[in-house]
């Protein structure tokens, strides 16, 4: 596989011995226009990688924050096609920041796997995280995506034992997303030493960078986690800021973009201290 934006980003960060801040927002939350503004601002606020959620009605691995964020986006009319359009617009003035789409398989399946891979690639997407496609279902999307030059980022979890890790890592590329807790997004916060041990375990099986997510809410936590990994992923804490900034009708307010980017900056500063 050719070098991708993800490979380049981690390489560059590695050279300066810094860690990656991976920022998650749902595409279209709270509306497509505001969401694109947030997305545009994230790199300046310190995000090294943008993880863009593909909204889905039934996000089974997500906690209340990201469920709500997904619902807001759907209510505002976001679709998978709209998500790809957002990426395309983002790419008109940013050709550097990697974009990873994260979501569930059904919208992709309905879009059509071949058409999706083609359109995602063309829009400027770098990688995919599909929560409900474990290695057992690799033929669905993982293999065609890899063949097309898209990174397929796999989740490794505390339940992925040493016997299973090689299978999970086999077709992973870009980075490994280590899920720091058994649970849904935005719930319990992970403990630094437990994560340190887990990252070391994953790294015994792969040379890929390992980013850690699920449950990181503050700059301090981001710093602690990033200090024992190659990057930290934050989602729920960011979309909570979006939720809190909304006006009484649930629409975006003048603070939505600024507050969200301010939070991103705090988290990024935490990661950079690591």
């Amino acid at each position: 596989m050719q070098q991708t934006r993800l490979d380049n980003t981690f390489k560059k960060l590695g050279e300066s011995n810094s860690k990656a801040f991976v920022a998650f927002v749902s595409a279209g939350d709270p509306d497509p226009v505001t969401s694109l503004k947030i997305m545009h601002g994230l790199p300046t606020a310190g995000a090294d990688i943008i993880e863009l959620g593909m909204p889905f009605t039934d996000p089974m691995a997500d906690g209340p924050s990201i469920q709500a964020s997904s619902q807001r986006a759907l209510k505002a009319g976001m679709t998978l096609k709209g998500t790809l359009d957002m990426v395309r617009q983002f790419r008109t003035d940013n050709d550097e920041t990697p974009i990873v789409l994260m979501g569930y398989y059904n919208p992709v399946y309905i879009y059509g796997v071949d058409a999706f891979i083609h359109d995602a690639k063309q829009a400027g997407v770098d990688g995919l995280i599909i929560v409900d496609l474990p290695p057992e279902e690799d033929e669905e999307l993982c293999i065609p995506a890899l063949n097309a030059g898209l990174n397929f980022i796999r989740l490794a979890t505390p339940t992925t034992d040493d016997a299973r890790l090689p299978e999970v890592l086999a077709k992973t590329s870009g980075f490994v997303y280590y899920v720091s807790i058994t649970g849904i997004t935005g719930s319990a916060s992970p403990e630094r030493n437990v994560v340190e041990e887990a990252v070391a375990r994953v790294k015994r099986h792969t040379d890929l960078p390992v980013a850690v997510g699920f449950g990181i809410r503050t700059a301090e936590q981001a710093e602690a986690i990033a200090s024992v990994a190659d990057g930290a992923v934050v989602g729920s804490a960011l979309v909570d800021v979006i939720a809190e900034s909304l006006d009484s009708h649930g629409g975006s307010s003048p603070e939505t973009v600024t507050e969200t980017l301010k939070k991103a900056q705090e988290l990024a500063d935490g990661v950079k201290r690591a």
């Binding site: 398989y105 059904n106 919208p107």
Partner: protein, 404 residues
């Protein structure tokens, strides 16, 4: 699709029935369902496990359930000879207990210490709460807030049985949302918890396992019909939400070519309206809750809400084996509307003295459509998979009767 040599060989080693089924779950759950598959594979070949299950089916559930000749319904329709498979007489009032017993024995065998489940109408929830009480395991049941409102008697029964009820307010607050929430709990409590799925859906091995535990319905029916009539039935008919009672009745007959098999989906206000729960008639293949199957969804792959008068049928998906049986043409799938089910509910109550649940009332309404045109020696079996005690309040409401 070419004709299969046998319809009973599925699923394959990847949990597929044709293109349907599979294991579409988050990595956190993947090791668990592989463990479950292994444990179930061993249990089903262990005579001690099977003996214990059979003993409980006999003495705790009251099996075999009767195959009852419905003389007055037969007379009323003036055609086929109508038999009712009386699974509503089971302990807890529906077929759901057949599966729950099997799964709780498996949970014990796997050393699990806590049970979770989703429920729609509450029949599965009651059955889970019952076996959890019987085996002394704490139990949490996820139930949509809308369903809690329309199934109050079952909610109270579950509480009496010691279960904790977790109301689910996401989405429309019905079965689909309850299943999402149960999966979220499972992913959080992987070590301690066994998830008793109530229907023939979810990731492999659930669809096959639940089918196997429910197949006792069809096995008994076959034997009882041979004893009574000296031959196989001509037609089988059962209602379908996720499809566990239907799968249980159909499975042992799938390779008996002479037997016509009909599944009846919930037509809600009509399958030409957006308000129904007929996934096969109105949906298309997609991936949800761990398996590929027919789903009610929009053009963007977003899942839409099912609607049915029956809380047990308003699921936007259907078991993957039904999806396969539809595409192969082995089983015919039709639908019945809310009103048709309500009419059948009242008819059965008045003619047979049996108050059916609203779920099998859908199947009965279809029986009413086909029976009059069939000859008097045509043997038709309908699965009376649940009793209607839980539904009397909501039926009263639909009939504009105030019973306080």
């Amino acid at each position: 699709m070419s004709k299969a040599n046998s319809y009973t060989t599925g699923p394959d080693e990847n949990g597929r029935f044709g293109i349907f089924g599979g294991r579409f779950v988050a990595e956190t759950l993947m090791p668990l369902i592989l463990d479950l598959e292994k444990a179930y594979g061993a249990a089903r070949q262990d005579p001690a496990f099977l003996d214990q299950l059979q003993d409980l089916q006999t003495h705790y559930v009251g099996r075999p359930s009767p195959l009852y000749f419905a003389e007055r319904l037969t007379e009323h329709y003036g055609g086929a000879k109508i038999y009712l498979k009386r699974d509503e007489l089971n302990h807890t009032g529906s077929h759901k207990i057949n599966n729950c017993l099997g799964q709780i024995l498996l949970a014990k065998r796997m050393g699990k210490r806590r049970i979770i489940a989703e429920t729609g109408a509450g029949q599965h929830g009651v059955a889970v709460a019952t076996v959890a009480a019987r085996f002394g395991l704490p139990c949490t049941v996820f139930m949509g807030a809308t369903d809690i409102e329309r199934q109050k008697p079952n909610v109270f029964r579950m509480k009496l049985l010691g279960a904790e009820i977790m109301p689910v307010t996401s989405g429309a607050g019905t079965l689909k949302d309850a299943m999402n929430e149960a999966l979220r709990d499972w992913v959080t409590n992987v070590d301690s918890t066994f998830y008793i799925i109530g229907t023939v859906a979810g990731p492999h091995p659930y669809p096959a396992m639940v089918r196997d535990f429910q197949s006792i319905i069809g096995q008994e029916t076959k034997q009882q019909m041979l004893e009574r009539e000296g031959r196989l039935p001509d037609t089988l008919c059962a209602c379908i939400g996720g499809g566990s009672n239907a799968m249980g009745l159909f499975y042992p007959f799938l390779d008996d070519e002479s037997v016509d098999i009909i599944g009846v989906e919930a037509g809600g206000h009509g399958i030409d309206t957006p308000e129904h729960a007929a996934s096969l008639a109105g949906g298309k293949p997609g991936v949800l809750h761990g398996n590929r199957t027919y789903l009610l969804q929009d053009d963007d792959g977003q899942i839409t809400e099912g609607h049915s008068i029956s809380a047990g049928l308003d699921y936007p998906g259907i078991g993957p084996e039904h999806a396969y049986l539809k595409d192969t043409g082995r089983v015919t799938y039709v639908s019945a509307t809310d009103q048709e089910a309500l009419d059948a509910f009242q008819l059965c109550t008045k003619l047979e003295g049996i108050i059916p649940a609203l779920e099998p009332s859908h199947a009965l309404s279809h029986v009413g459509k086909i029976a009059p045109d069939l000859p008097s020696d045509h043997l038709l079996v309908m699965n009376m998979c649940g009793r209607g005690d839980k539904d009397v309040f909501s039926v009263a409401e639909h009939l504009n009767v105030d019973i306080g």
